[in-house]
Structure formats: C-alpha cells, structure tokens
C-alpha cells in the first residue's frame, strides 16, 4: 500500500519527566528543527529574552504566556503540532511539577506514545518514577526514554548506562518495556534529529527516529461491541438512541442487549444527518440507532451484542490514582462515572497503597493526593463493565468529589463474580397464585413460623457443626426443620455448577430461592454456606423477604486456619485450591446480621444456646 504522507494519521504524544529535566527545552527544539514554528516566533522570543536581560531558553517557546514565565514552570498541557517525513504529531507538553499532576494526567491520558526525560546529571528522580507509573496506569504502552543533558556529564557512556539501567529496571517492575533509551542533549541538539559526533558510542535511534518508530494505535474494531448510551432523542417521529461506539462494530438487523437492564431488541436503522443511511458502524464513530421494539432505555446503559455482553457487578477491585485535595478514605463515598453511567460508590476497602518510588505496597486506610493504590469499590447501582485488560474503554472510571474529578482507576474483577446471570428478570406475566392455606394456618398447625436461618462465615468457622446440632435440637422439640448444605444441594439441584465466581454466585442464588420456598411451606430452613458476597446474600434475602435471618458464624481467619479440619487452608496456601475464600478470594462480612455467633470466643454449647434462644424468641408461635 502506498504511504500517503499527507494523510498519515496524526500521532498524539506526551512529554513527561521530573521538573527541570528538559521537557520544554526538548519541545522547543523539536518544533524549531521540524520547521513548525509560526513565522517570527523564534526571533520574537529571542528578542524578548534579551529585553528582559535573560539568556535565551528554548523553553520560552513553550511558555509563551506571562503567567508561565513569571512562575517559571509550565503549568498546563498545551498542544503543539509539527510534522516529520512520516506523519504529523501533536505534542501535549505535560509539566513536571508535582502540584500539577492532574494536568499531566489530562495530557497523558489521550496520548498514544510518550517521551520520558531524565536528566543525566541528576539521574532518576521522584517524578521520573511517578510519571512512568502513571503512564502504565493510563494505558500508554509506547514509551521512549531520553536521557537528557548529556553535555553536563561529558557525554559519558558510563553515566548513560547507569541511568538507563536504573530506569529500565523500574519500568520492568511495571511491565513496561521502553522502545528505546537515547542519550541526548536537548539544549545542544545532540541525537535529536541526527547522530551527534559527540557520542560515537551510541548508534541507536535519534529522538526523532524514536518518534517515527511509534505506531498509531488501531481502533478496537475486533473487540466486542460496546456503546455506552449517551441519550435517547425524540426530536421528530424517530426515537434515536445515541452514543459513541467504543469498540467493535454494529450492523442493521443485529440483535443487541442493553446492560444492566438486560433488555434486548433489534437494530432497525442507523440514523445519520447528511451522511446517507449507513448499514454498519464501527469503533470510534458517534452514532444513533433506532430499534424494532419500543423498549425503555436510558443514558448510562451499555449496548452490546447478546452473545458478548459486558459483565455486571456492584463490587469490583480497581487500581487507581488519586488527585483529590482530600485523601481518598476507606468508607468514603464518591460519584463514580463509568462510560455514561453515574452512580454513588463507597470505598469498601483500601487493599494497598503503592509507593511509586519503589513500587512497594503497604496497608493503609487512605490514599493521599497524587498517590496510587488498589481498592475495592461498591456501587449503589449495578454496573455494566469489563475487565480493563479486556476492554479499556469500558473498564475504567473516574471518581468525582464535590463536582470535581479527583481520581481515575482501572477495573479488575479478580475474585468477584459476574452478577449478570443473577439479575432475575422476574417474569411479569405470571401472577403469584394465592395459596388457599394461609401462612397463619400453617404456623398454627406447626406451632412455629417458617423462616430462613442463613448461616454465613469462613470455611472452618463452625457453620456445619452448629447447623446440624441446631437441627437435631429443634427437631427434638417438634420443629419442622431442615438443613441445606453443600452435601444435599451440590448432589442434585446444583450438580451442573462449578466453583468459579459466577457458578458460586448462581449456586447461592438457587439456594436462596429454595430456602424461600421451604420457609413459605412452614419450615425452618438452616442454610449453611460460606456465601462470601454480600450481594448474593442480599438476593437471598430478597427472595425470602421478612422471613430471612442472617446469622454470622464468626471466627477470625487465623482461628479457622488453625482449626483447618479438612486441610483446605493448607492446600489453598500452597496454591492447590484456586479462589479459596479468605485466602485468594474475598469474604465480605455481614454489615447488619440478625445474630453474630462468635465461635472463636465461645464454646460450641454456648453458641448452640444462643441459637436456640434466638429461634425460640423469633419463631415460636406465641398465640
């Protein structure tokens, strides 16, 4: 294919690095040498420096406004254009000063490639590392490292080697491989556009060649279709669903699903104004469609193909960076924006805070401004999203506090189930048949009410022991009582389910429904499952309504691990059992259990006593 120079796609690049390591100088030099400066600009700035009695600085070309010159630091992203033989570029000059990290983020988030500068004399500094870290988090994968000010270190190959190795090792810790590491002097012009005679030991690419070596990123046409709904328009007789296709492609006639409402319809038409009537649209396009059915869809939903829908959850893990003036706190609430959806979110846990200096992680309850870490977030509404790895556009989000965007993060579903299959669209065309035998009649006959005692707790906390003991005691007292546990459920009802997060969630969903039926029939059901996710228990509670009693069988992880009756913890620690609750997947303790039974504090008999008293008070027919 012929490379048409004029129409080669423009590449967006960002230039980052510690303050004073030469970013502005590099940009000034680049635009001058590629002939991109507006006429007279170079001379004007030169004259201006002289007027002010200051030596000429290349950086002045970038800092062409008063405020910047006075402050002496570049304060924001500016977009500067130039072109090489290969293609046009837009440089987003990002500042190095710590205070303005949010501006660096603004610039770098839209860049396809980055040049990262390090002063050869000063070596790798705090911001060199932090910027490297942010580039990786923001998804900028193409990075060239420029070791600048080689003139200050006598163009020493040794010094270059030291700096290059140190930084290469740092990037490796982030899983980033730089495309090249180049010794330059931005001020003197060495290895910028041509090899400099002053560093004969370096034969690699020049800074300009490094740029031309980057690739413009292809649009994600091959990924599953994702179109976050921006709006639904009814300006005329058409009802148009509008949004931008973030990935994949769409054709007229295809069946689509909207998540998380899980409604489906077919595409009747793709609408456009002054652009014909397209039959297909692809990633990157802002489009509008009409559907063959009048379903209610609103902003915030994600349109996809039925077979390849996004995941749904209200709890997930994230790696995030924080720009807020106030630290991010455990338990704090923010607004989360993901695609076009906005919802309230709570920081359920801060799993670790990352020190970007050495990439070490430590436990903490807050992430300070300009910091980064890993958190568990719980949203009020169900979200449609993807793992960031699988689909960046629908796998990242922004947090907002007091109207201001204060952080950004990427989604990991590790250890959390996709709740998609659990959104039971309760059939609306079946009206519940009223039983001729009333609940009161059953209670009167049985001498007690029906209900669900939902035991939850870690493996080894004592759920089964207590459940079976309680069953025996209650049966002896004449109760209609039955224990649901792994043994009787997994053998038949849930025989088809595995042990992955989704299957475990489905397992619990079915148990919740069965337990509710038993309770309705007048039984006292004791369900004995780890049921680690709050969302799952919420659902079981919804199924049984007021008859649901959450019983937290509580023992610390250490206590359970000590007991380890079946040797499961040992095997999980050795990595033989994947996604073992408490070890490699989370346990979310109840927030408001009806009863907490602390088995690591009280002997079994006392625990049983607590349960018997509880049942007596709540279930015995008092009339």
């Amino acid at each position: 294919m012929r490379q048409d120079k004029q129409d080669a796609r423009q590449l967006k690049i960002v230039i980052v690095g510690h303050v004073d390591h030469g970013k502005s100088t590099l940009v000034g030099r680049l635009i001058h040498e590629t002939g991109a400066l507006p006429e007279g600009r170079f001379e004007a700035i030169k004259a201006q420096s002289e007027r002010r009695g200051m030596p000429f600085e290349w950086a002045f070309l970038m800092d062409a406004i008063q405020a910047e010159r006075d402050q002496g630091i570049t304060i924001d992203t500016t977009q500067i254009r130039f072109r090489t033989e290969r293609r046009p570029y837009v440089i987003i000059d990002a500042p190095g000063h710590k205070e303005f990290l949010k501006n660096m983020v603004t610039g770098a988030a839209s860049a396809e490639a980055a040049l990262l500068l390090i002063d050869a004399h000063e070596g790798v500094q705090e911001q060199s590392r932090r910027h490297g870290y942010l580039l990786s988090l923001l998804g900028v994968r193409q990075v060239a490292v420029l070791v600048n000010k080689m003139d200050l270190v006598g163009y020493s190959a040794d010094r270059f080697g030291q700096v290059a190795e140190e930084y290469r090792a740092y990037l490796k810790g982030l899983g980033v491989e730089p495309s090249c590491i180049i010794p330059i002097s931005a001020r003197e012009g060495d290895n910028m556009t041509a090899h400099s005679g002053r560093m004969p030991w370096y034969q690699g690419p020049t800074a300009l060649q490094a740029l031309d070596g980057f690739e413009t990123l292809p649009r994600p046409f091959e990924r599953p279709l994702r179109m976050p709904v921006q709006d639904v328009y009814k300006f005329d007789q058409r009802r148009i669903i509008a949004g931008r296709i973030e990935s994949g492609s769409l054709e007229v006639g295809q069946e689509v699903i909207f998540s998380p409402s899980n409604k489906t319809a077919r595409i009747r038409s793709i609408e456009a104004w002054q652009a014909g009537t397209p039959e297909t649209v692809r990633a990157g396009q802002s489009v509008g469609v009409t559907l063959d059915e009048q379903i209610f869809v609103e902003r915030g939903e994600v349109m996809s193909h039925v077979a390849d829908a996004p995941q749904e959850t209200n709890v997930f893990k994230a790696r995030l960076f924080w720009l807020g003036r106030n630290a991010l706190e455990q338990g704090a609430r923010y607004t989360l924006k993901l695609g076009t959806l906005e919802t309230e979110v709570t920081v359920e846990a801060i799993e670790r805070v990352i020190d970007t200096d050495d990439l070490s992680a430590k436990a903490a309850t807050r992430i300070e401004r300009n910091g980064a870490g890993e958190v568990v977030l719980r949203t009020r509404r169900l979200l449609a999203l993807d793992e960031h790895e699988e689909n960046p556009a629908t796998g990242r989000f922004v947090l907002v506090e007091n109207h201001m965007p204060v952080g950004g993060g990427i989604v990991s579903m590790e250890g959390y189930p996709d709740q998609r299959h659990l959104v039971t669209v309760r059939s609306t065309n079946i009206t519940a048949v009223g039983h001729a035998v009333t609940r009161e009649a059953r209670t009167a006959r049985n001498g007690h009410k029906g209900g669900v005692l939902w035991f939850t707790g870690l493996s080894g906390a004592g759920k089964s022991t207590l459940a079976l003991a309680l069953e025996r005691e209650l049966f002896a007292k004449g109760y209609l009582v039955y224990v649901l546990d792994g043994d009787n459920v997994r053998g038949g009802l849930n025989k088809d389910l595995g042990f992955g997060p989704e299957a475990r969630a489905e397992n619990i969903r079915r148990i919740g429904e069965v337990a509710a039926l038993f309770a309705d029939a007048g039984f006292l059901v004791i369900s004995s499952f780890i049921s680690p996710y709050r969302a799952d228990r919420e659902r079981a509670k919804e199924a049984a309504g007021a008859a649901f009693h959450e019983i937290y069988v509580k023992a610390s992880l250490e206590a359970c691990e000590d007991r380890d009756p079946k040797g499961l913890y040992r095997r999980a620690r050795q990595g033989e059992i994947a996604e073992f609750t408490g070890i490699s997947s989370p346990y979310e303790p109840p927030e408001a259990a009806e009863l907490v039974v602390p088995t690591d504090e009280l002997p079994v008999e006392e625990c049983l006593g607590m349960l018997m008293r509880y049942v007596g008070e709540r279930f015995q027919n008092t009339r």
């Binding site: 405020a67 603004t106 456009a272 965007p405």
Partner: protein, 264 residues
C-alpha cells in the same frame, strides 16, 4: 475513518454530553467559519436539529455581509435564534488598550446575556491552535459567578470524562472543536459544503482570515479566491491566524486578561 471523521466524532460526543448534562444550554454564534462548523456539528449530533437557542451577541459593528448571512441561515436552518446587544464602550475598563476595550464590550454583553437567560452552559467554537492561552483550555471549562476563568486550577479531563456538574452559580463553557486546527476547519467546511461569508475569500488581493469587528479586524494579503485556494495557502503559511486582530498585539497579556474575565 479519516482525520476529519475522527474530529467530527469527538466533537459530536462532546456536544451530546453537554446536552445530556447541562440544563440551560445555548450556542454562541459569531457568524464566522468556526461557529458555523459548530452549528453544523450540532445538526449532525442531533440529527438535523439544534435543540437549544443559538445566540448572537451583537457588537453592531460587524460587516454587513455578516448580518445578511446571519438572517438568512437563522431562518433556513430553522434556528431558535436569540440576538443580544453589547453595552456602549464607556462601560468597559479604561485601562485596557483600545482594541481590547472593544473586545471587552463583548465580554460584558455576553455576561449580561448569560444572566438574562440563566444559561448554565454555553457552547463556543474556540480552538487550541488559535492562541497560546487557548491551548490551555478544557472541553468543559467552568467559570465562577463573575465569569472568571481560573486557568491555573482547572479540572482534569481524561478518558472522555468531563466536569459536568457544578456548584451553584458556576456556568460552563463547552468547547467542542477545541482539538481542531484552522486547516481542519477549512477542509471540513469544504467536505461538508458548509455555507460561509465570502469575506474569507480574496478580493483585490486581500481577504479576511478571521472575522471580528470591522474596526479591529484587518484583511491579509492573499490571492486565495475560493476554498481550495485558501486550503492551499494555509498548508504553507506559518503566520498565526489572529495576526489580523489588533488586540493580541497591544500588550503581551491583554488576551489573557480578557480571557480570564470571560472573553472568549
């Protein structure tokens, strides 16, 4: 998608975000090539409609061709058109240079119009490549009660998420073509066949590259008499676009002072 398609898709996305998130929205129509493109993009975004008022803040010192253009297309495009007037020059800050005062009239007129209609958001056709300070702009740029732009502490914008909710009293400028260049505007105008005032084309060796008020805009030397010639000219020039506007050259910081005060 080619370069223009990419620009267009991004602008449409921004316009739709603004329309979805901002309650009282309007577009500022200065009658020039940039705001014509923005109007065109609105019609693309909203499938032939412009679902909010289109406002011209009139200095009453525009070229007659501009008024004729305005009256024609306001009707032809079925716009919800609003015209607001600027206050007399005496109302402006006397310490500003003359052309700056003239521009400041517009600031005052605009501020009054915003207040009168209670607009929460205003769509403007400014571009980053116009002037160094505009390069600092965000797509969604909040202004406080007095119209002040706090350029040193702007909200971050990334991953297509913008600041779209605001404390009481703030209003927001929305800049859907911020990422376009002058050349992009011309190529798009040509491709889409968007109507244009012919002051942009050469007559007697001169044409206007940018249209402000009569008294503060001067034509440049040019033989470019049609759109192709203009594009060819721009592909080689390195003179900045606003060179023909007096205000920018009077004091190094006059543009910034005006901008901070709400002039766009």
């Amino acid at each position: 998608m080619d370069h223009l398609d990419e620009l267009e898709a991004e602008s449409i996305f921004i316009l739709r975000e603004a329309f979805a998130k901002l309650d009282k929205l309007a577009i500022l129509w200065s009658l020039g090539k940039d705001s014509n493109v923005v109007l065109w993009l609105c019609r693309k975004a909203f499938f032939g409609h412009v679902p909010f008022p289109v406002m011209h803040v009139d200095t009453e010192r525009k070229f007659p061709e501009m008024y004729a253009f305005r009256d024609r297309y306001a009707k032809e495009w079925n716009l919800n058109f609003i015209r607001e007037l600027c206050p007399p020059i005496e109302a402006t800050d006397p310490t500003l240079p003359p052309a700056g005062r003239s521009a400041a009239r517009k600031t005052l007129g605009l501020r009054a119009a915003i207040e009168k209609h209670g607009f929460e958001g205003l769509i403007l056709g400014i571009r980053r490549d116009e002037e160094a300070i505009r390069a600092k702009e965000r797509y969604f740029s909040p202004r406080d009660e007095t119209g002040q732009w706090n350029l040193k502490d702007q909200p971050p914008e990334f991953w297509n998420q913008y600041m779209t909710s605001f404390p009481e009293g703030t209003h927001v400028r929305v800049h859907p073509i911020l990422h376009w260049t002058e050349l992009d505007i011309w190529k798009y105008t040509k491709r889409e066949n968007i109507p244009l005032i012919d002051l942009y084309f050469s007559k007697n060796g001169k044409r206007y590259r940018s249209l402000g008020d009569k008294d503060i805009t001067s034509p440049i030397e040019s033989e470019a008499a049609d759109i192709d010639a203009v594009i060819a000219e721009l592909e080689t020039t390195r003179t900045p676009e606003r060179a023909g506007r007096a205000m920018d050259h009077e004091a190094e910081d006059s543009f910034e002072r005006l901008r901070a005060a709400g002039y766009m």
